[in-house]
């Protein structure tokens, strides 16, 4: 099986939660629903303290095109507009909602929309926007933006990313296993949304890419998609970061997305990548016009008594979710997301949001002593973006972060492979983040300078 160059094989630890079917976690009394759970401008609250809300009712409208709507996960009363911690570390505006426990549905939410199959591509994109659907693989990029590429870019493939290459995480696997038909319907909707009106139906093909450690799902998908002309399942080798967009496209279609310096995006090579959860959410939104206010995530780790996969309402606090599965005192690190790219939380009050694919509690302590780089070349061999990671850390040690631009630091996807394999335990990803924080303003200033000069010449 072909794959991208580089990458690494961490122990996948999926056995802890792979066989646990998805359970519903009851919503707590109080939920803090963040207004910015997506890439783009935060949503504007349209309810005040004291308003009564129902499940699925719009409580924050998208401000601008690259933004996403936010809906109430429970029915009850809005207590206040407060601020809360975002996993990324910054604090964001949020709505504190008191749950009355009755789960009163907003109107038309949950009703089966009879002619959902022949909805026009335009309506699919509108539904995605109204339902606040965002990429659920962790990037949380608003789906309606991805589904409306500019005319110049013609899309020929939609890839459903079922790689789930992060260790411990099994939520996509369980979704695929238990709700295979709905995910396939979701993929069909995605394909139809991206098929230009004048083109023949099977111009855009849909591929569900699964890693080889989830063979049962792959076989099930294969026989369900036999008769479909433009839909197929593809098996991929087990390797981290197989699920990263550029690496996924390289493995599945052997195309390479151009680098950041040329503002490369998957649509430049005619591809749109979506997460399995996103496809399912789109299906539920189009058919049952159910907005995105809950998602499946994996709770696992060696400091969790009973690891499992839970359907959790957005806004539930991390503490509530972890307590539901029994967190032991040996936990020293709580991670939102996977162990390779996830974020270590300092406060368990941080609420679950649309992009939280996992909550892990690990007991391994993180005090690896950093040693000097012995230029063993492991990071250079394993880097999936074929960069020279050791350069970022050696330049970082002497504070010359501005020179990392020359070594393409902005193209780093921060997958963590270099830091994982480094025998000297050097925090290369942290050096990259600092490098980007130094280089991006420099590039912006230079572009600004260039633009002002051109204006002076033509002005």
């Amino acid at each position: 099986m072909r794959s991208f160059r580089g990458g690494v094989h961490p122990p996948d630890m999926k056995h802890l939660s792979a066989d646990a079917p998805i359970e519903v976690l009851a919503a707590p009394e109080q939920l803090v629903v963040p207004l910015s759970q997506h890439i783009g401008a935060p949503a504007r609250p349209i309810v005040q303290a004291g308003d009564d809300v129902r499940v699925g009712q719009l409580i924050g409208e998208a401000s601008g095109f690259v933004s996403a709507a936010v809906h109430s996960p429970v029915s009850g009363k809005v207590k206040a507009v407060t601020r809360t911690r975002h996993p990324l570390g910054n604090t964001v505006d949020a709505l504190l909602i008191e749950n009355d426990g009755q789960d009163r549905m907003a109107e038309r939410v949950g009703e089966d929309n009879p002619n959902w199959r022949d909805v026009s591509p335009r309506d699919i994109v509108d539904t995605a926007m109204k339902a606040g659907i965002v990429g659920m693989g962790g990037a949380t990029f608003p789906t309606h933006v991805k589904l409306s590429p500019p005319e110049s870019k013609h899309i020929d493939t939609v890839i459903l990313n079922a790689a789930e290459c992060e260790p411990y995480l099994t939520c996509d696997y369980r979704l695929l296993l238990e709700r295979t038909e709905d995910v396939i319907e979701g993929l069909k909707l995605l394909v139809r949304a991206l098929t230009p009106p004048d083109a023949p139906p099977n111009r855009v093909s849909g591929i569900i890419a699964v890693e080889a450690n989830k063979k049962d799902v792959f076989l099930k998908l294969q026989d369900m998609l036999q008769d479909k002309t433009n839909l197929l399942a593809r098996l991929m080798p087990v390797k981290y970061p197989q699920g990263a967009e550029k690496q996924l496209i390289k493995t599945v279609l052997n195309r390479e997305v151009p680098p950041q310096s040329q503002r490369g995006l998957p649509m430049d090579v005619g591809v749109v990548v979506q997460n399995v959860g996103t496809a399912l959410a789109l299906y539920e939104a189009v058919r049952f016009n159910k907005p995105l206010y809950e998602r499946v995530l994996t709770v696992s780790g060696d400091a969790i008594d009973t690891p499992g996969n839970l359907l959790v309402r957005v806004g539930t606090s991390t503490e509530h979710v972890l307590k539901a599965r029994g967190i032991t005192d040996s936990a020293s690190v709580v991670i939102s997301g996977g162990p390779m790219m996830g974020i270590a939380l300092s406060r368990l009050s941080t609420p679950v949001n649309k992009g939280t694919s996992g909550l892990l509690a690990l007991s391994s302590s993180e005090n690896w002593e950093t040693m000097p780089c012995i230029s063993c070349g492991a990071c250079v061999r394993h880097c999936p973006m074929q960069l020279i990671p050791s350069k970022f850390s050696t330049l970082g040690d002497v504070g010359r972060y501005d020179e990392t631009e020359h070594w393409n630091v902005i193209d780093c996807i921060e997958c963590g492979v270099c830091t994982y394999v480094c025998p000297s335990r050097r925090p290369i990803v942290q050096h990259v983040k600092i490098g980007k924080a130094v280089v991006v303003p420099l590039m912006r200033a230079r572009a600004e300078e260039l633009r002002r000069q051109q204006e002076k010449e033509h002005g």
């Binding site: 601020r83 911690r85 996993p87 990324l88 570390g89 910054n90 604090t91 974020i343 270590a344 939380l345 300092s346 406060r347 993180e366 005090n367 690896w368 950093t370 970082g396 921060e414 925090p427 942290q430 050096h431 983040k433 600092i434 924080a437």
Partner: protein
């Protein structure tokens, strides 16, 4: 070059010097002509300001300015716009003269000093989590890393400002907060740029009352993060006789043009976060004196 040059003359002892002079004359003349022709042929025009700056510079070619020599530095100032103040041996007057040649004016402005607007040291600010990673403030405030300190605005105390200061005007206090040694501080702004949380600002040297907090959260959240943070109780705003202090976005901010450093707000503030620097200056100078055996 006729080979018949009087060999006999060369043979006599006196002839060596005469002969040597003769040969040098010939070679010097020939090469001089060649170079003259070449300089005409390879004429390049040079910005005359480079010559002027070169005259001003001490022409010691010491390289302290970071360039290969005085000529390289002169060209760097003219072509690349490098700073006028890099000539160490030249000092201030060379800097002024270069600035005049380059047309920039070096006006004298009111002396400023750096102030660290955070009082939440290890004794009063709460820690949120153990931090593992590169020991620098900039590293500890990258996106995707939760703040190790409960207060997401406060000083992380990892000394980026102390490292950035080239005039030894910053020293790390024992409670994990940087202290500004005002006599050394030339307000160059290096620390202001170095602090990733923008806690350090430049204020007039003459005013010595400062608010040591920039936490814009509401009072309830501030208390959770730090014992002495500004809880926006507005008392200072009411007491101030010259209306120089206002609570903007949940934190008290001083307008240094109006402030007369009367210190009324210092006594009024329940959190004690507004501090009269006069008495602490003595303490800082004490800290600056090299304690025998101690390291700053």
């Amino acid at each position: 070059m006729c080979p018949v040059l009087p060999v006999t003359v060369a043979a006599s002892a006196g002839g060596y010097t005469l002969f040597g002079v003769l040969v040098m004359l010939v070679i010097g003349a020939v090469l001089g002509l060649v170079l003259f022709a070449a300089s005409r042929f390879f004429k390049t025009d040079v910005d005359e300001r480079v010559e002027k700056i070169l005259d001003v510079l001490p022409n010691v070619n010491c390289g302290a300015c970071g360039f290969g020599g005085c000529a390289a530095y002169a060209e760097a100032v003219v072509y690349k716009g490098s700073a006028c103040s890099l000539c160490a041996p030249g000092g201030a007057d060379v800097e002024c003269r270069i600035a005049e040649i380059m047309g920039a004016s070096v006006g004298d402005r009111e002396p400023l000093v750096a102030v660290v607007h955070c009082g939440g040291g290890t004794r009063s600010a709460h820690s949120a989590a153990g931090y593992y990673g590169i020991a620098s403030c900039r590293a500890a405030s990258v996106p995707g890393l939760n703040s190790p300190k409960a207060c997401v605005f406060g000083c992380l105390g990892m000394g980026d400002c102390v490292a950035a200061c080239k005039f030894d005007a910053m020293v790390m206090g024992d409670d994990g907060l940087p202290l500004v040694i005002e006599s050394n501080c030339v307000a160059c702004g290096a620390c202001v740029r170095a602090c990733p949380r923008n806690i350090i600002q430049l204020h007039p040297l003459k005013s010595f009352v400062h608010v040591y907090c920039i936490n814009t959260d509401k009072g309830r959240d501030v208390r959770k993060a730090c014992d002495i943070g500004c809880i926006a109780c507005m008392k200072c705003e009411k007491i101030c006789p010259v209306d120089a202090i206002h609570v903007i976005n949940n934190v008290a901010v001083i307008d240094y043009d109006k402030c007369i450093s009367c210190g009324k707000c210092v006594k009024e503030c329940p959190q004690g976060i507004i501090v009269n620097m006069r008495k602490t200056r003595k303490e800082i100078d004490r800290l600056r004196q090299p304690v025998p055996g101690g390291t700053s």
